[in-house]
């Protein structure tokens, strides 16, 4: 197999330079796999032609699952027969993307036996991505994965693989257990993850605090962002140390940058008008030893972000301003259930939940799922006087 070298002068250029090279990775894989060798060859062809050579294919997958595998074929199979089929397998990552060396090696063993040896660590949604295999390999991959304790992730119109920041595992700012919640939701919704039955995809991302390290507000239909209700915790000695430490100018770097203008610094005392703090995290980020999120912690639940397809890009919008998030997370599951039921029944084909809410109106959506409207859900009340009153009521 290794003799199947192709000349790739354009791609070779990308082996140079200080940044890690994907071409080096592809060549490493090509030493052992004819599939990877052809993947390299067809990519060089694309670099010459300036177009891609992949077609989206028919439905492929493993028995009993509707998602987890993306079928892929090329449009010049006569030239690149070893990537005539080049399917992707999405493997559900462990929450927080933590691994042991043994777990990584086990995944490598399976993938070297049955695929190209090319991976993405990780895909955009969070899955481990195995890049490039053929249909007959899918069942063996699946049974070896489950034997090793792994399972497939989502694809198509299903709940996509939930993902999260490392939260309490390493971060002092985590306002709830992101990994615990993510694992719980993933297990609770295995059917929704593996068997597409929604109008379109539904992504869940859990961030432990408003820093939102997993970009949940932009990349998830359900964005769970940790926050707190009581006062920011302050360690006065650490504030004093900060003031004299020389690294931070509390007046300029912290107080002047507070978006709510709710902080005051007289050179000795730092005070915070917590009632006006929007929980943005800036002051805490800058003075991590002196300030910390409060003790009454939970999360803001936002819904509906998405990329432009179809009706334009959206950020998620506030659905529940504050929710205590403790196992077994019943209120959150109840909310998810109510939203899925409504959207599942009335959503149009390929309509994300954010678009659905825009179409029916947030007010109507809330009424249907049984949530009371509160002013935290909007930046201001409407200015438009054309109001649809409920004439029947």
């Amino acid at each position: 197999m290794a003799d199947k070298k192709r000349s790739t002068p354009k791609l070779d250029e990308l082996e140079k330079g200080p940044w890690p090279s994907f071409v080096k990775e592809m060549k490493q894989a090509a030493e052992k796999s004819a599939t990877a060798a052809d993947a390299l060859g067809i990519l060089e062809r694309s670099y010459n032609d300036k177009i891609g050579h992949w077609k989206h294919g028919g439905i492929v997958g493993v028995k009993g699952y509707g998602g987890g595998v993306i079928g892929r074929y090329n449009d010049i199979p006569q030239d690149f027969p070893d990537v005539a089929e080049f399917h992707t397998v999405r493997v559900n990552q462990p929450a927080g993307w933590f691994y042991t060396s043994d777990a990584l090696r086990k995944l490598c063993d399976i993938w070297e036996r049955h695929g190209s040896g090319l991976t993405n660590m990780h895909g955009s949604t969070g899955d481990i991505v195995f890049l490039g295999t053929k249909t007959p390999e899918l069942e063996p991959i699946f049974s070896e994965l489950t034997e090793a304790g792994f399972d497939l992730g989502g694809s198509g119109s299903d709940m996509r693989t939930p993902s999260c920041c490392c939260g309490m595992a390493r971060c002092e700012w985590a306002c709830y257990d992101t990994m615990g919640l993510t694992y719980d939701l993933t297990m609770h919704y295995q059917d929704e993850l593996h068997r597409p039955a929604f109008p379109y995809k539904f992504k869940i991302k859990a961030a432990g605090c408003p820093n939102d390290c997993v970009a949940s507000v932009a990349r998830a239909d359900l964005s769970i962002i940790g926050t707190w209700r009581d006062n920011i915790q302050m360690n006065k000695d650490a504030v004093a140390a900060c003031a004299t430490g020389g690294k931070v100018d509390i007046g300029k770097d912290v107080v002047a940058k507070c978006p709510s203008k709710c902080m005051d610094w007289d050179g000795k005392n730092l005070s915070i008008d917590n009632g006006n703090c929007v929980r943005c995290m800036h002051c805490i980020n800058v003075m991590p030893k002196a300030l910390a999120p409060g003790k009454d912690r939970g999360a803001t639940i936002l819904v509906g972000s998405k990329a432009p397809i179809i009706e334009g890009a959206l950020l998620s919008a506030v659905m529940v301003p504050f929710l205590k998030l403790e196992a077994p997370y019943s209120d959150l599951k109840e909310l998810i259930g109510a939203m899925w039921e409504l959207w599942g029944e009335h959503g149009k084909n390929r309509e994300r939940i954010g678009e659905f809410i825009q179409r029916v109106g947030l007010g109507n959506f809330l009424e249907q799922i049984g949530l009371e409207p509160v002013p935290e859900m909007v930046t201001q009340p409407r200015t438009n006087p054309y109001i649809f009153y409920d004439v029947k009521k």
Partner: protein
């Protein structure tokens, strides 16, 4: 010996994360006190117990061979008790408890070609999509553009020399698998010509009503060609979104000369200071010029440099531009403003300036 039929397992879910956590994390889970950046690429988390965890962060190309994963596994065994994790931006982090292991690990990673950095006010790994490596929809390659841009911006990965963190993202079509629309700088591949319909193949491959319904601008209508039901595209109405292509493979969009990249700036997802915001259009089109996309690299570098020179400490790209105003941004970055910068789709009108609040500039 009779072979026993193993019962096929389904719906077991991912392994429980606890199995993979290092002892120091199990012990201090939810009991961390504070953290700091010891040096570029090295975080130190201190627990209430006084335990210290060092995370050494190295860049990976996202598209990684199993050989590299095995290398990381070996490095983890040698330096971090077999424990490692990945970040949401495709960096790998070795979870070190023995402080003495940090420098040798960094040195080894560097020799192997996986440099350490990407913490604090720096440019970290570019989140990106599949491009010509794997996707059917791509208007540009992803990995090649990302590699070229990061080679050029590399000093900002290793040093923490920017006003604030700078997040770059790349997506190869408007599907935006990486949801790049909220990054300090987004590079977005786009098509600029209406799709072509393969009338011979379409009737066999696609459902006409679904195809017609897929178009957000109503540019597709049914048509009969050679006695067969197919569709036609009203070209003036098309905005090259590729939605039709996603539901019907007999419609193709790839166009070697007209596909390319656009550059968007000033988005963010974190709530720190300013609320999260979308990236806005800076440059409507740059050509695909593989293997190194010099036009894209130069454009991104210019924007980074203008930002680095003019923004204040802690100011993200979007916060800086908001303070100085867009007219000033376009002038400082020397980027022409065109009619393409003005929205004419769903949000048209929302961003027309409807006041006399203008920061006039003296004649140049």
């Amino acid at each position: 010996m009779a072979t026993e039929t193993v019962k096929r397992k389904t719906d077991i879910g991912p392994p429980h994360y606890e199995k993979f956590l290092p002892p120091i994390i199990k012990k201090n889970y939810g009991k961390w006190k504070h953290h700091e950046i010891v040096k570029p690429g090295v975080l130190m988390h201190v627990a209430e117990s006084g335990d210290k965890l060092f995370s050494v962060r190295a860049a990976t190309p996202r598209l990684a061979s199993t050989k590299t994963l095995r290398l990381f596994a070996d490095l983890a065994d040698k330096f971090s008790g077999g424990h490692l994790r990945y970040t949401s931006r495709n960096n790998v982090e070795f979870l070190v408890t023995d402080e003495k292991q940090i420098e040798p690990l960094i040195a080894r990673l560097k020799t192997e070609g996986y440099p350490v950095g990407g913490t604090g006010p720096s440019i970290t790994n570019i989140v990106h999509t599949q491009g010509w490596v794997h996707c059917h929809s791509a208007a540009s390659d992803a990995s090649g553009v990302v590699k070229s841009v990061m080679d050029e911006l590399f000093p900002h990965f290793e040093k923490m020399d920017l006003p604030a963190k700078l997040r770059i993202a790349f997506a190869c079509c408007l599907n935006m698998c990486g949801a790049v629309h909220c990054s300090d700088i987004s590079i977005l591949g786009l098509h600029r010509r209406p799709p072509k319909v393969n009338h011979a193949a379409l009737p066999k491959m696609c459902e006409i009503p679904t195809t017609v319904a897929s178009c957000p601008t109503g540019a597709i209508r049914p048509k009969t060609v050679d006695g067969k039901q197919t569709v036609e595209i009203i070209e003036e109405q098309c905005m090259y979104c590729a939605n039709c292509f996603t539901v019907c493979p007999a419609i193709t969009l790839a166009d070697a000369e007209n596909d390319g990249c656009s550059i968007w700036v000033g988005g963010k997802v974190s709530n720190a200071r300013h609320e999260p915001m979308f990236s806005k259009l800076a440059i409507p089109f740059l050509p695909n010029n593989p293997p190194r996309w010099p036009e894209v690299v130069a454009a991104v570098k210019n924007i980074v440099e203008v930002y680095a020179k003019n923004a204040r400490k802690y100011e993200r790209m979007g916060e800086w531009i908001e303070r100085i105003g867009w007219p000033r941004f376009f002038r400082l970055a020397d980027i022409p403003f065109t009619k393409f910068h003005i929205d004419d789709f769903k949000h048209a009108g929302e961003y027309y300036r409807r006041s006399a609040h203008i920061k006039h500039m003296p004649e140049a």
